[in-house]
């Protein structure tokens, strides 16, 4: 999936943008899948990811999650983001793009804590940040690796003796990502995987205060 951040869009020149003219089938697929339920699910998903950005020191206000969902859907309708209905569902596309953008926002927050990240920032600053981020995206800084390693250690500590959460973390550390992979590597049944994922979500939520305290310690 191709995703483009706001800064990348700002860095583009007008000549690069061709008019977006999807087929009737594409429009029908978008219309059928863009339900009220999908938007609300995506909003809950984005709200959870927003906390992930905030934990890294990113400036996240109460509109951040709603704007993420709004931006991904409108960017798709304007052709800024490419969606092929024959390949993935609109939900997979939407969640994937929200994940990608929040991950970028988190990395940006870790690298540029001194920079403001509002959409109202000048294009030049955003381009500079984006270019710098793109150049180093594949190799996170030692500081951010240390920070995230500490967060994972805190997550494990918060999970206590919940063996199934530890198995999920172990599976992800071993490279599993799709639910089937995590279940297989973590030796979890589908039922216990679903229940453990819910408990994991609660532990991830609890992280915020612990991590902020940890981050202050490093500052």
């Amino acid at each position: 999936m191709k995703t483009t951040t706001t800064a990348q869009r700002l860095c583009r020149t007008a000549d690069e943008q061709a008019p977006f003219e999807p087929s009737e089938q594409w429009i029908e697929a978008f219309e059928a899948q863009n339900t009220d339920e999908l938007r609300k699910r995506a909003h809950r998903f984005a709200r959870s990811r927003a906390r992930f950005v905030a934990r890294a020191g990113g400036r996240v206000d109460e509109l951040y999650a709603a704007e993420l969902v709004h931006d991904v859907l409108t960017d798709t309708l304007f052709g800024v983001l490419t969606w092929d209905p024959a390949v993935v569902s609109l939900e997979t596309h939407l969640f994937g793009a929200v994940r990608s953008r929040t991950k970028n926002d988190r990395l940006r927050a870790l690298r540029f804590r001194h920079q403001s990240l509002d959409a109202s920032d000048s294009a030049a600053v955003m381009c500079e940040v984006e270019t710098s981020l793109a150049a180093t995206r594949s190799t996170p800084s030692p500081e951010s690796l240390t920070f995230s390693a500490e967060v994972i250690a805190q997550l494990r500590a918060l999970a206590g003796d919940d063996v199934e959460i530890h198995r999920i973390v172990d599976a992800v550390e071993a490279g599993a990502s799709a639910p089937r992979e995590i279940m297989s590597v973590g030796q979890l049944s589908e039922k216990s995987w679903r229940k453990a994922r819910l408990r994991l979500a609660r532990v991830v939520d609890e992280l915020s205060n612990h991590v902020l305290l940890g981050a202050r310690r490093h500052a």
Binding site: F20, E21, P22, S23, E24, I27, F30, E31, N34, D36, R39, K40, R41, A42, H43, R44, F45, A46, R47, S48, R49, F52, A66, V69, H70, L73, T74, L77, F78, F95, R99, K103, R106, L107, P140, S144, L145, S148, A149, V151, I152, L155, I168, V169, V172, E173, A174, G175, S177, I182, R197, L198, L200, A201, V204, D205
Partner: protein
């Protein structure tokens, strides 16, 4: 370790977010926001559909009617039209079944349109 810690944390946060999408609750404000966004997206979909329609054909300026049709009366125009369509034996068709509904000028324009002789 296969993944580096940043990727692991991202994946764990992703799984937590999926759980929240599945089991979290939405407020009435979220419902309102979702409906408003839906309306906005619907407007854009309508715009995309309009863009699929063919562009309007350019309006052509009518050519002046030949002088020989201008001198004919209404009855003569209808007779000429009948004669012309019969002589072309079905090769010509026009939308008006009842020529009485057309003005004299419409009849002249129709005749002029069917007329293949040089101007």
């Amino acid at each position: 370790m296969t993944n580096h810690s940043e990727d692991i944390l991202d994946e764990l946060s992703y799984q937590a977010a999926l759980a929240e999408a599945d089991h979290g609750r939405s407020t009435s404000a979220d419902d309102r926001w979702s409906r408003e966004l839906g309306d906005k997206l619907q407007a854009r979909l309508a715009e995309l559909r309009r863009n699929l329609l063919p562009a309007a054909a350019p309006i052509q300026k009518a050519k002046p009617i030949r002088g020989k049709w201008l001198v004919l009366t209404r009855d003569q125009l209808i007779a000429k039209l009948t004669e012309l369509t019969q002589s072309m034996s079905g090769a010509v068709q026009y939308a008006h079944r009842d020529l009485q509904g057309l003005s004299d000028n419409d009849l002249r324009q129709l005749l002029d349109l069917l007329d293949t002789s040089p101007r």
